[in-house]
């Protein structure tokens, strides 16, 4: 009954004319961003963030969420038609999607991606409606030790899901924490790492960093390694969008499995939608009775990862709204938005701002439905966007990033800082230092440090407080396990080598 009540509250907000327009703008913009290579959801939202200071937070968040799941739909188009993922979350779709397109089944690939995304997305919203408040209720028991342990676990999980070199992930995470400490210390009022520069006393704004590291750094990357693919020759007709009965039989359970994997990965801090689609594809291939079909145009190889990435983009809102812990760079940018409007996501959000929470969640039903229609009927229009010269797209990114950075404090210092961070981001990525851990650590840095200090103040300096409380102990244990994963992997590899060596020397 409470669920229906919440749904009613949500729809009464999401269905206002204003919010429907924001939702439509969000999903449309997200879809375009998804189609365009070289610009992702975090950048798209970060570039808009400074421009939405004056917008009602609920409406702006409805738009941002629309961008997030819209991007997951849009990236599919380029994956299928030109074998270039518009988004990292649609990398796996290239494998079988492009093969299908070459066999003249591009329409079916796009269709199943849209339908699968819609089914998995809609079911995920229903589960999110039940799960998020329960998680929030559970999180009411969290004190400073639990919050510190939770952030530690999130950082640890980054080393599992992060880049190829865990040690570099750790350095990136620490760099994020370090940047978060710049400015006046909230407890003692002492300046830290400001070096007498007055503009640094207030800390470096998140928007400045993200506009540089995701926006302009991405421009340098796209110039250096342009993603060019060849558009499939055959023309898309509306009739091609219909699935054959056999295709539907192959995909229906793939959608369910992909959706479940996606939802579960999405709620893990640091899980993210790319990991979700990756795992869903691998899972589907392993489960399939005909794994040999994969890579040759298997429709379930499109259905599973596409359902997974959309489910994960929805379920990622659970830790963000209920705990205030973002699991992906996009939700991290949204957390920055919450902070900008002075709203603190977490367990109390459901009680203090029910309109915002339920309005946002209900808007996802509308957004997903709009995307389904767009992806069934407007694909040729989105393909046309691909003809836009990159120099113009690049120009727009530079304009939005510069104006965005300037508008944070209305000074040029931030614009220069943004450029500095873009160079740092570019070099880090080239040297295999992942950016996502830096961003997550940056946005969680204050929460992490403050909870650590509060917890140690409560315990009189004893670290045992983290182990005495069961929830905190579980998180700490998970964090240790996550940090040890590279060592465990290394040990297993060594063991296997030793085993192979001994068996080969015996023969």
């Amino acid at each position: 009954m409470e669920l229906l009540n919440n749904l009613y509250t949500g729809f009464s907000i999401a269905l206002t004319f204003n919010n429907i327009i924001y939702c439509l703008v969000g999903v449309f913009y997200g879809q375009i961003i998804g189609v365009l290579p070289g610009i992702g959801a975090p950048t798209a939202i970060a570039l808009l963030l400074p421009l939405t200071y004056k917008v009602n937070p609920t409406s702006a968040l409805i738009m941002f969420a629309g961008i997030y799941y819209g991007v997951a739909y849009g990236g599919t188009i380029t994956s299928v038609l030109i074998n270039v993922p518009g988004e990292s979350s649609t990398v796996m779709t290239c494998i079988d999607g492009y093969q299908m397109a070459q066999k003249g089944r591009a329409g079916a690939a796009l269709s199943i991606a849209a339908i699968g995304s819609w089914i998995a997305g809609t079911v995920s919203i229903i589960i999110l409606m039940a799960f998020a408040p329960a998680l929030a209720k559970f999180a009411l028991r969290f004190g400073p030790p639990e919050y510190f342990a939770l952030t530690l676990m999130a950082f640890g999980l980054l080393t599992v899901f992060g880049g190829e070199e865990p040690i570099k992930t750790i350095i990136s995470t620490m760099l994020g924490l370090l940047i978060a400490t710049i400015g006046l210390d909230v407890v003692s009022g002492m300046p830290r790492f400001a070096f007498g520069v007055p503009q640094l006393l207030g800390g470096i704004d998140f928007v400045v960093i993200i506009c540089g590291m995701f926006g302009i750094a991405e421009v340098f990357f796209s110039i250096e390694e342009p993603e060019e693919g060849e558009l499939v020759k055959s023309k898309l007709r509306l009739g091609d969008l219909f699935l054959t009965w056999e295709e539907w039989i192959y995909s229906r359970w793939a959608i369910v499995r992909g959706g479940i994997i996606g939802f579960l990965v999405g709620i893990i801090p640091a899980g993210g939608i790319t990991t979700a689609s990756f795992l869903a594809y691998l899972g589907e291939k392993r489960y399939s009775k005909h794994p040999e079909r994969f890579g040759k145009g298997a429709i379930e190889g499109v259905a599973a990862p596409e359902s997974a990435n959309n489910a994960a983009s929805i379920s990622g809102f659970a830790p963000l709204l209920a705990l205030g812990i973002p699991g992906s760079p996009t939700t991290a940018v949204m957390l920055a938005g919450f902070m900008m409007w002075g709203i603190r996501p977490g367990p109390m959000l459901f009680q203090k701002n029910p309109d915002l929470v339920w309005g946002l969640i209900s808007s996802m039903y509308i957004g997903n439905f709009l995307l389904l229609l767009m992806n069934l009927f407007l694909i040729p229009a989105f393909v046309a966007i691909l003809r836009l010269p990159y120099t113009i797209i690049m120009g727009f990114i530079v304009i939005f990033a510069s104006v965005g950075a300037y508008s944070v404090n209305n000074n040029l210092f931030d614009v220069w800082m943004m450029l500095g961070f873009s160079v740092l981001g570019y070099i880090m990525r080239k040297l295999n230092y992942p950016i996502v851990p830096l961003v997550l650590a940056l946005v969680l840095g204050n929460l992490s440090e403050n909870s650590l200090r509060q917890a140690l103040t409560i315990s009189g300096g004893s670290f045992s407080i983290f182990f005495k409380r069961p929830i905190s102990a579980i998180f700490i244990f998970a964090a240790i396990l996550a940090y040890l994963t590279p060592v465990i992997r290394w040990a297993l590899k060594r063991l296997r080598h030793v085993h192979i060596d001994t068996t080969s020397s015996n023969t």
């Binding site: 570099k168 350095i171 830290r192 110039i223 390694e225 450029l419 295999n432 300096g461």
Partner: protein
């Protein structure tokens, strides 16, 4: 790439040591609990330790080869320099005209588009920036000495 990776590790090491040095000047512990230097010191120690690991790893084994400077890196550098020049000129031209010039110049330089198209795009961009950001969103963008 190995050299670039090595330099990257070295920079991380210097950063880590600098963080340890500067955070040791802050209070590690206050009477209420950990002080402002507590977390930064540990962050510095972890960065230093990890950087040492990265450097040893590079020196010890042959890592997979890759090139830092690619054929098109030069083009990226050109864009960076154009952005720097644009930002330097912003106090003179203001945001609308300065960024519009940037678009025009890069379209000409990178896209090899015709002068007329570049000029028209620049004009439309300047008008767009002015109306969207200044008039509609009321962001007080600097207008520069000869700007708009």
């Amino acid at each position: 790439m190995r050299l670039a990776d090595f330099i990257g590790g070295l920079v991380a090491l210097i950063l880590g040591l600098a963080v340890i040095f500067f955070s040791s000047q802050l209070n590690y512990y206050s009477e209420f609990g950990p002080g402002p230097g507590f977390l930064p010191l540990w962050v510095g120690i972890i960065i230093t330790g990890s950087a040492v690991y990265v450097i040893i790893d590079i020196l010890k084994k042959q890592r997979k080869a890759g090139v830092f400077f690619k054929p098109r890196t030069r083009l990226g550098l050109q864009v960076l320099i154009t952005i720097i020049v644009t930002f330097l000129l912003l106090p003179l031209f203001g945001f609308a005209i300065g960024l519009a010039l940037f678009i025009g110049v890069t379209m000409r330089m990178m896209g090899k588009h015709g002068w007329i198209l570049c000029g028209l795009t620049a004009i439309v961009t300047a008008i767009g920036i002015h109306f969207i950001f200044v008039s509609w969103l009321t962001i007080p963008l600097p207008q520069g000495l000869i700007g708009w």
